[in-house]
């Protein structure tokens, strides 16, 4: 059994509860144990870093230190949380004075940020630690009848100086996972583009245009569904889909799945068990 600390993303605790629910269902099937970090706090969602860079460093040094205390890597299933916490880690590792200032405060909670735990995405764990062959062997219901559009989202790819797992121009990890689960991945030019989530409340029309573009291509390519490793992309592409497509004049729709649900389906769990019925677009 491989053990990891699991970071609880705010959105997975509220709107996209199905992400963590489906991981809980299949983690043991793949020999994984995720230890939930209930003491962890919001990473700042790609906003705290400019509101207050020092609070941003403190909050995320603490998130990582909680995993380090258990001697575990920190696993994240939201792209933005991943990029945000990894950015903080990079800053802390490169700035000894900041690391010391933060650690002087963390000491009061019996914590220390040392920089020993890696911060990784769930998708990377599946590919690198569990392995595609092992996953393939566990598949009970191959997704062979599905044409699947892989939507990576931004913050698992860019900035590559912080992420560095996939080639941001032509990523492949999600395609490989789809293939291992028996699905048919389609050549989807929007795979590395943006979903518009981060400006939905600030520049709504622009965000909807961005989302509509990604949805339209998948619909034109006759994909059965789009799969994404990020609950924020899911919210933009699923929750805002009707609004985005209406504005773009497209009379169609396409379901959006989380990777955790796609894995669950292939491992034999039902749509109901995985919480897929909670999606806005069914």
């Amino acid at each position: 059994m491989k053990r990891y600390a699991y970071y609880l993303s705010c959105i997975n605790e509220s709107m996209t509860k199905e992400v963590d629910r489906s991981i809980e269902l299949w983690q043991k099937d793949l020999g994984i144990e995720f230890v939930k970090l209930h003491e962890g706090t919001c990473c700042g969602g790609s906003n705290l870093d400019y509101v207050s860079p020092k609070h941003f460093a403190l909050v995320n040094a603490r998130n990582i230190a909680l995993a380090e205390k258990q001697g575990l890597d920190l696993i994240v299933s939201c792209n933005t949380c991943l990029m945000t916490i990894r950015s903080a880690k990079k800053k802390l590792d490169e700035t000894p004075a900041l690391k010391k200032e933060v650690n002087d405060l963390l000491k009061k909670e019996g914590l220390e940020y040392r920089g020993t735990s890696e911060v990784r995405h769930l998708l990377w764990v599946l590919i690198d630690d569990i392995g595609l062959d092992a996953i393939r062997q566990k598949v009970k219901v191959p997704l062979k009848n599905y044409r699947i559009a892989p939507f990576y989202g931004c913050h698992i790819l860019r900035p590559s100086t912080v992420l560095g797992h996939d080639n941001p121009v032509d990523p492949s990890s999600l395609d490989l996972l789809i293939d291992a689960l028996g699905g048919q991945t389609i050549p989807y030019t929007h795979k590395n583009r943006c979903c518009g989530f981060h400006t939905l409340l600030v520049a709504e029309q622009e965000s909807l245009n961005v989302a509509a573009e990604a949805l339209e291509e998948a619909i034109q390519l006759k994909a059965d569904f789009i799969v994404t490793p990020c609950p924020l992309c899911h919210t933009s592409l699923d929750g805002y889909q009707a609004k985005a497509l209406k504005h773009a004049g497209v009379e169609s729709s396409i379901p959006i799945f989380h990777i955790s649900e796609m894995v669950g389906l292939a491992l034999g769990y039902s749509a109901k068990e995985l919480g897929i019925k909670r999606h806005i677009v069914s």
């Binding site: 969602g45 906003n47 509101v51 609070h55 931004c154 790819l157």
Partner: protein, 344 residues
């Protein structure tokens, strides 16, 4: 060690350049022309284009000048990615190409097309004018030319990287928001604005910042990092964008615009609960009226799917929030001290 002669022979291959063509005076729609030429290792895309223009088809139009990655003229999309033709090696592009032996060459996106690979840079220049992308010196005119206007090394390092920008517009071409709305300020202009705003010799800081926080300005960036990823000079453009936002919050406060209110919500929620209170985020960002007008139909669907975020009292604080809050507030004191010493 000597390299066998046959390896030298293999350092040459036929490459097909599929070039975007459009002459609005003649063509009803764009098309592609294929040109296959032998290319040796070490040859750039620009040299290949020059060869094609010189030997095969003189009608192809593109901009180029310095051939050394300095002037920024030859920005174009090479196999889908915006970059400089003069610093892009054909063999490196081929190594990553999905179609063996083929390189697609297209004009930059998000700027009006003039002909073939040439785009109109005027909209970008107009935005640079609109956002005052120059230094208006604080030195009295009477002193100019009589004494040096010195800056510290520490200050220079804040915008050193930003001065590397050669205005090639690769970032403009890759920008997600500009693609959605051509009115958007654009990453290159934000970078220049940041560079001017952190320069203490400049007198336009407040005026420029006031323009940057308006609609289509700095808050519309969606953090996709495409600009930074494509930058031919590896400039951390997002740091500049975040730098403008940090400055805006410091000088104009957290209640200034919907963008700053949105950002403020993260700060206050983390301090109070350690978790984001998503249910009230739209109201705190845009007010009740906007929220009802824009999000009500979606909220109804979400209620039906049991997908609504919990109301504030039901958002469970992170475990151990009391100690965390103490640390957070202590850091607030550190930041206040930093600001005081910064002002001194």
């Amino acid at each position: 060690m000597t390299v066998p002669i046959d390896q030298h022979i293999e350092q040459k291959q036929d490459v097909t350049f599929r070039i975007f063509r459009f002459n609005p005076q003649v063509d009803s729609k764009p098309y592609f022309d294929d040109y296959t030429i032998p290319v040796e290792r070490g040859i750039t895309v620009l040299r290949s284009l020059n060869y094609i223009k010189e030997h095969i088809d003189a009608s192809i139009s593109f901009r180029a000048f310095c051939q050394a990655g300095i002037c920024g003229s030859c920005g174009m999309r090479i196999n889908g990615l915006s970059q400089l033709a003069c610093t892009t090696q054909v063999w490196e592009v081929l190594a990553k190409s999905r179609e063996p032996g083929l390189i697609r060459v297209e004009p930059l996106r998000n700027l009006p097309l003039i002909k073939d690979l040439i785009v109109d840079m005027d909209p970008l220049v107009d935005k640079m004018k609109h956002y005052s992308n120059w230094i208006d010196s604080t030195m009295p005119e009477s002193s100019m030319g009589k004494k040096e206007f010195l800056i510290s090394e520490e200050e220079f390092l804040r915008y050193d990287k930003a001065t590397d920008c050669i205005l090639c517009a690769s970032c403009v071409s890759e920008c997600s928001i500009l693609r959605a709305n051509k009115e958007y300020v654009s990453p290159a202009v934000l970078l220049k604005s940041y560079r001017m705003n952190v320069d203490t010799r400049d007198a336009l800081h407040g005026q420029r910042l006031a323009e940057l926080v308006k609609d289509h300005g700095v808050w519309d960036c969606t953090h996709c990092y495409r600009c930074q990823e494509t930058c031919v000079k590896s400039i951390p453009i997002m740091d500049a964008i975040h730098g403008i936002r940090e400055d805006a919050i410091e000088l104009r406060g957290l209640k200034d615009t919907s963008g700053s209110k949105h950002a403020e919500a993260f700060m206050s929620d983390i301090e109070k609960k350690g978790k984001l209170v998503e249910a009230t985020l739209p109201i705190r960002t845009n007010g009740v009226f906007w929220t009802i007008q824009n999000l009500l139909p979606m909220a109804v669907k979400m209620i039906m799917k049991h997908r609504t975020p919990p109301p504030p009292p039901l958002v469970k604080p992170a475990k151990g929030i009391k100690v965390f809050r103490e640390l957070f507030r202590e850091m607030t004191e550190h930041v206040k001290q930093d600001h005081k010493s910064h002002k001194k």
